[in-house]
């Protein structure tokens, strides 16, 4: 048992160390940032495609706009806001965390808590 605990400890140390170093050295270049953002945007002229995946004219325009804005130093949030003002929330595949969508985002976590309580209550009388 002692050995086990030692392994676990060692493992956690190594893992956290590596994670931090990786996080520090991971610098995203502009194309990766464009990809990340455009994957979360809907191509308004296609059927269920993201702007990144699509080669439609609309998508190519948006890709250019996003790239220029990122180069100009705008944050992802600003760009999304700009696009929503222009095309509506429909363009975002990741729904905004606002009042309307509170249920959408909260629901899975509410269920998770209920599930956890269920297991705890059911297993209460069964301690061995």
């Amino acid at each position: 048992m002692k050995l086990n605990r030692f392994y676990k400890f060692l493992y956690i140390i190594i893992l956290s160390f590596v994670f931090f170093t990786l996080k520090i050295f991971a610098v995203e270049n502009i194309d990766e940032r464009v990809k990340k953002l455009t994957l979360e945007l809907r191509c308004m002229t296609c059927q269920n495609q993201s702007i990144y995946d699509s080669d439609a004219e609309f998508s190519n325009d948006i890709k250019k706009i996003v790239k220029n804005k990122l180069k100009a130093g705008e944050s992802e949030r600003d760009i999304k806001k700009f696009l929503v003002e222009r095309y509506g929330e429909y363009i975002l595949f990741r729904p905004l965390m606002n009042y309307n969508n509170i249920f959408l985002w909260g629901f899975p976590f509410i269920l998770l808590i209920i599930g956890l309580f269920f297991v705890l209550i059911k297993s209460k009388g069964n301690k061995v």
Binding site: L3, N4, Y7, K8, L10, Y11, I14, L15, V18, L22, A26, L39, E40, R42, Q47, N48, Q49, S50, D53, S54, D55, G88, E89, Y90, I91, L92, F93, R94, P95, N100, N101, F103, L104, W105, F107, P108, L111, L112, G115, F118, V119, K122, S123, G125, N126, V128
Partner: protein, 620 residues
Amino acid sequence: MSSLVGFLSLVFAIGINFYLFLSRYIFKFQKQKFNLFIRFSSLLTLLSFFSLMYAYVVSDFSNYNVFQNSHSNKPLIYKISGTWGNHEGSMLLWLCILSIFSFFFSFTKNIEDNFQKLTLIIQAFLHILFGLFIVFTSNPFLVNSILVNEGLGLNPILQDPGLAVHPPILYAGYVGYSIVFSIAIAGLFQNTDDEWIYVAKKWSLISWTFLTGGIALGSYWAYYELGWGGWWFWDPVENISLMPWIAGLALVHSLMMVRGEQAIKKWIVFLSILCFSLSVFGTFLVRSGILTSVHSFAADASRGIFILLIFFIVTGFGFLVFLLKEPKKSNALNLLFINKVSALVINNILMIIATLTILLGTIYPIIIEVLYNKRISVGGPYFNSTVIPIMIPGFLLMSIAPILSWQTNKINNSKKYVLAFIILSVLVILQSYFLDFNTWGFVGLLLGFWIILASIIAIFSSYKIKINIKFFKIINPHVAHIGVGIAIIGITCSSVFQNELDFNLNEGDKFNVNGKTVLFEKIETTNEINFQSLRGKFLFDIEKNQSKKIEAGKNYYPVSKMITSEAGILHKWNKDIYFILGDQKNNEWFVKVLINPFVSFIWLGVIIMMYSGLIAISRR
């Protein structure tokens, strides 16, 4: 003529089912005779389906449905598969598969006669519901009021061998849950012994295996036909198929608990009703035209309302019986900190949460549109950041769950697992250190490899290795989980480590893909029977003698004036090289090359899962 035969046999089949349904209350007859009637009505439904198919094959444009969806110059295979390439025909296929399931169920042995009869009566009831739906709102046998020599043609995206296999297999999965539903309801009514659980298990495994195959075929089809290099989009239609799949998986796992004498009958019945309800609900969403996709052929409000009605009848009836005839209190669950029962309960809870989250995400845009008259999208990023984290503990549990004991808290050989996990995570860390680091990639690879490794350790340390059928049946749960692990690796690699290269090329240009030289030979246009094709011809790895030919391009279908993209894919065991030919600008062709690592692992994983589904059917 064939339309008339089809219509009459359909109506006759519904009539017989109506008679059988009444037989519970008015005219009682024996089991033998009852089964004969069931089989006869199945044959009539089949006959109806085949007469529609015949009308398609001979291009009988006096049938309005054929006129709308077919064209005489299509190749034969698309005439046959075109039968279900439209709303009416696909609903007839649905009914047809429903009656095939009844047909085979009528041959089941080892179950009580009355129980079998009751199950089939519920099947007959479902047959009547869907049969009336077809006759009144989606009749494929309507007569064309004008005389024509040519049809309007089939949607070009559907003109693909995928159409021949994907819908029937997927439907076999959806509709298979009707039998599970009927068995569960009949079980509630009769409330006799637990024998029905074994019957339900077999049929739910059959449906689940078909559903797995159907979904995988659908995503493979999307992968090579839609031409954007992905195979899953969290598209509403995909979500709809995923919901009964996950619920069905939870059902299959719950049915395992029967063996530990921990029958949680109530939960099993609930899941059985849920699976079929989700299937019908999915049909409603797709067929009502609320969702726009390649699957919703034509929007018609009356159909949507009718299916919604059927959905409420089926679900309402199911859950009402469930509430009124609640099974007797079963044994208390033997939940320990970590034993098999608690693992299965946690797995069930996680799967249900995932199913409900997908359900909410899929219908949320509709709710918002109704309430606020505003359009929003709930897409991949939402599901990736909710459903996947919810499933991760389940995946972790899955690696060791099959060897946990029913009664105690102990894990045999726990040191081996701890050691293996540590070595594995160091390896994965090294991998992500030297290649691109990505959190999802890290988690996915670690999980996938861990599931495979733990299952292999479990097989070797818990059982004596023998090569015979019995052994394969014993290790089957581990094999299924290895399949999931392989699929997780494929999914992670192909989505996280996908690489994209863009080129602007002239004919005759050479370019570099992944260290290999590729020659863009030429552009070729040809006229096929029912379309014109434009193909860019590529030679991959020209330095070698056996260079591979790749063709990517577009098809133009004059009948429906549509262009489809045809990706050129070079399959290797460790990566797919995916060519997309874009438009021509300034005399240069835009060519996009995607390198999708380990895509083949996804299909391999799915095949392993289906294999172990089949093995599990034969195991009791």
